[in-house]
Amino acid sequence: MGLSGAEYERILGLMGREPNYLELSLFSVMWSEHCGYKNSRPLLRRFPNEGPRVLQGPGENAGVVSLGDGWALAFKMESHNHPSAVEPYEGAATGVGGIIRDILAMGARPVALLDSLRFGPLDEERNRYLFREVVRGIGGYGNAVGVPTVGGEVEFSPAYSGNPLVNAMCVGLIRVDDLMRSRATGEGNAVVLLGSKTGRDGIHGATFASDELTEESESKRSNVQVGDPFAEKMLIECCLELLGQDLLVSLQDLGAAGITSSASEMAAGGGVGIDIEVEKVPRREAGMEPWEVMISESQERMLAVVEPERVEEALALAERYGIGGTVVGRVAGHGDLRVVDNGEVVGTVSAEHLADAPAYEREVLRPAYLDEVQKFEVAEIPEPGDYNEVLLSILSHPNLRSRRSIYNQYDHQVGTNTVVLPGADAAVMRIKGTRRGFAVTTDGRGRHCYLDPRGGGAATVAEAYRNLSCVGAEPVAVTDCLNFGSPEKPAGYYQLAECIEGMSEACEVFGTPVVSGNVSLFNETDRGPIYPTPTVGMVGVFEDVGRHATPGFKRGGDMVVVIGGSSRVSLAGSEYAEIVHGRVAGRPPGPDLASEKKTADLVREMVRSGLVDTAHDVSGGGEIVAVAEMALAGGLGIEYEEGELERMTEGQGGGRRDVALFGESGDTFLVAVPQERWEELEDALSRAAGYDLIGTVGGDRIRVGDAIDLKLSDLRRAHEQDLFGIPGEVVGGSEAVG
């Protein structure tokens, strides 16, 4: 059942007697890594989680931050890695369904989805299959349920072969006054199960998610859950209506560990007990045992607490929406989760004990592999001859290629709130009836975290902060998903601890507390562990959503300026080193957080003041890749200044053109302004650590000294190839959205 001997002893101690099979099943699911955070709880305490805008930090179904004017956002990210490895379409689809219900449980209307994905290289058939089906699954669910998928990210590396990462994030909008919490109260109140019938789906799925993937687990077929976005859509509308009519005392989604975890969390939250009359739970399959019903992970279900006199009204509403609604229990005065089958008590466990999973703290020991992989000298890689070729090969590499063939499979506009569509640094959403809005991004830097866990953790957060700043939003808070290998191995534990440390430091400097998150450990296959890959979802706010920027060049004649302290550009751990030279090595410069913040805040201020409407950050691939992305997004070329390439090469390039063009650094941005606003820009830039006019927008080519001269149409052909590799396929008809 996935409980160790010591854990069993602990249960004996807590209960003061032998648990029966049902009771043991409840412990087993609740004490799994997935629900109980055995290996991560002590480390997670490091995350800062307070701030002036935080209305709800970790500990609830989702974190909530205030947007002002009584508006709030609820958001959370969650992993569905293991289910997606086994059955990619349904694994990804149910991942989306699950995270939507977490947001719904806060009382919020889900308004945006994002997906953060990792796969092995696309030259392996199995990886192509996983990638294609995961994307289809996310679209298949999100599109049908009517929540726009507005952003996300994807990377490919051999480290994820056979162990894809599928992290889904959902953002919900709510009035502060309407916030719901998972807290059962009022002895005698009814516990109502809403939504689909209960089958044997994912029995022990939570424990499964915490095992390493093996050949054997691939044949555990009964773990597979199938999503029903139609049922979810009706569940969303029904729950929002129930909340709107004030019919609910509390609401909670059913995720991992099903009724067991929902009921015990609600009971613990309210300091009460809950009796579940298990025979009342509507079932899809015959002959289910009470323990199976209690831990089933059937999808599209919610648990609500309703006052007895309002039950009838609530059930009538469920009927109107065509979803099931059944009273399956009562709030009780004792503190237990008690399971009753046709009048007979078949299990009694204290809700507190279920929540009291053991926590394992380990020594943080620096693994030896780091010394090995951090060795890197620029001189080890030869300077390329043909920079045009290099730029084309980088822009067409799956890690830097346009994501259009992914996000065009996602409905990113339903809801008519998406102001900046996918393809920009962050999605920008408006709030109807107000000038306000928010921006949201997900980011992860697995390779960087592998080469330097602490620096990579900080860089992950910094990247998200930059992305929000580029569009002009004020970053306010973070959700995260910690995707790691086994914490029982010293290297795995070190990576986890160090990444959390780096992320925490960055969150502190940026003032973006972590308000929700999720942990996915044991991501290992026969080929070894994945890169340590914490992903973050960050949200930012706009007072005036009309004042935002996008990367695409907008006007010929605009002057393009690079801003930031790019004196630290480096090829260590860069895309260029991996794509062109096959090297994953070196210690990337850790972010200088204070300077990062200063530069990002400056860029944001320029957008907010209306001075800048074209901005982009320099990220994977370095300055020239960022410039090419801006050109392609806007359909306008750029001519670098005379002598600029030489200046770059002598300066930050340390004499090397490839370092200057493709070197990566943290706090570097590109903005473009019309000539007539140049003086205003210079004024604003007086506070910058450094800046440099690099060129002028115009024409249909990118020209950089005598190194690069490429037509946009050639760049576009390379950059916008279909990631799903259907020969001859042309994706999309219109220009990229800038």
Binding site: V226, G227, D228, F230, G322
Partner: protein, 78 residues
């Protein structure tokens, strides 16, 4: 020219696996004026012309069905 066989493959959700399509259709039927339907299950019909039936089972397993969530049966119809 080798003769061809007509093969019919039926693919359906495995026992115990949720069949949202079937469920939704069944749930909608009474309101649509179709009574007396107890269960509905929806799967895939695949019809092929093949030169030999020797490989049909392997095709079903590897491509035509998703063994994780589906089961199949096949027959030569002519």
């Amino acid at each position: 020219m080798p003769e061809t066989l007509k093969v019919r493959v039926l693919v359906r959700p495995k026992e115990g696996i949720l069949d949202p399509q079937g469920e939704a259709v069944r749930g909608a039927l009474p309101a649509l004026g179709f009574g007396g339907v107890k269960t509905v299950h929806i799967g895939r019909l695949i019809e092929m012309e093949v030169e030999s039936a020797a490989e049909v089972d392997a095709m079903c397993r590897r491509l035509l069905s998703n063994p994780t969530i589906e089961e199949y049966e096949w027959e030569v119809v002519s």
